[in-house]
Amino acid sequence: MIKKTLFFILIFYILTLIQTAFLVHFNVSGITPNFVLITVIFINLFSPSHWQKAFSAVIGGFYLDIFSLNNAGGFFGFYTLILLGLSLFLKIILGKYVRLPVIQKI
């Protein structure tokens, strides 16, 4: 659990740095895909652990809040709340209406 937590903290930190300093050079007509958001969605779709889903949303959102400079009038926590909401939304939708292949340990 602690190992996975540290892994998530490190991975999302690196992803956010790459997002804000490296990938900004590769925009297509002014749009850069948000890889932090994509990773959070991916984890929420395919991870079997509820804890991982929620934590990825919180830590991804936290880093986006730190490294985004001008979101929602400087409201810190904007991305954390948005990603947590998204995680909850996916949980409800997937739980009720969709069945996806889940990666499980054999």
Partner: protein
């Protein structure tokens, strides 16, 4: 069985509510005590060396990738460049004469950038994911204040300082949706307001309908509004939108800066 399920569900809901309450408290505390600024500054401080390396690497790689992708049109461009080269050679001779004249005038009138404003050099560290603000490596400890204009070495207006941290500052670009300031087309004495549209797009608003403007004309800052010094380059007119029923016409402006190619910029500390 059903009761056990209900207990589990109740416990889960309880857990979620507790987590949400803790999160809400943390968010409120961070926003209202201003502690979020310290956290941001700490992260910028420990990340800035890595970010600088990533920024440089991204710049090099994107240049290389763009070169490969544009190989097809390169040949056509070479032909055009040969033709342009001939023309430019002719112009160089004329410009050399003008340069001499210009240098004499600059000396006489003191038009040098450093003479016109008091400047502070800053390096770009990262760009916001919303794309219309950047982070530079000068902050409150360097004496930077919110609202100071930021320009390039070519006197092109980039924006103004927004949030100031201890060692870093946010630059709100003129293309940011929150940005608006007075500008004019110097050749025609047409005044209006330049507003940001986001994603490096700008438009020139509130131009009286009876005023004639045309594409590729330069737009510069005006004294109106007092946000920026007069005479900074903003961009050139791209498309004009004019309607018979509206009292004003608007025009899209192509900014003269490209953040991708910028490393250093200048903060105007006094104007």
């Amino acid at each position: 069985m059903r009761t056990r399920l209900n207990i589990k569900l109740y416990q889960n809901i309880k857990k979620i509510i507790v987590i949400l309450v803790i999160l809400a408290i943390v968010v409120v505390v961070l926003n209202f005590t201003g502690f979020s600024k310290n956290i941001k500054n700490f992260f910028f401080l420990i990340s800035s060396p890595i970010q600088k390396s990533f920024w440089q690497a991204g710049k090099n790689v994107s240049g290389f990738v763009a070169g490969i992708l544009e190989a097809r049109i390169l040949k056509k461009e070479i032909d055009n460049l040969h033709f342009e080269n001939q023309e430019l050679l002719g112009q160089i001779v004329a410009l050399k004469e003008l340069k001499k004249e210009n240098e004499t005038l600059r000396e006489a009138l003191g038009l040098g950038l450093e003479k016109e404003f008091e400047l502070m050099v800053a390096q770009i560290i990262s760009k916001d994911i919303s794309q219309d603000s950047i982070l530079v490596d000068k902050g409150g400890k360097d004496g930077v204040l919110s609202g100071w204009p930021v320009i390039t070495g070519q006197k092109v207006l980039l924006g103004k300082i927004g949030q100031v941290y201890d060692r870093f500052s946010e630059v709100i670009l003129i293309s940011n949706k929150e940005s608006s300031f007075g500008a004019k087309i110097p050749e025609r004495e047409v005044d209006g307001i330049v507003k940001g549209k986001g994603s490096f797009n700008l438009y020139f608003d509130l131009i009286p309908r009876e005023k004639e403007i045309s594409e590729a004309e330069l737009v510069i800052t005006s004294v109106l509004g007092g946000v920026y010094p007069q005479g900074l380059l903003v961009g050139e007119i791209k498309t004009i939108r004019k309607s018979d029923i509206e009292p004003f016409q608007t025009a899209e402006i192509a900014p003269l800066f490209n953040v991708k190619n910028l490393d250093y910029l200048f903060i105007i500390t006094n104007f």
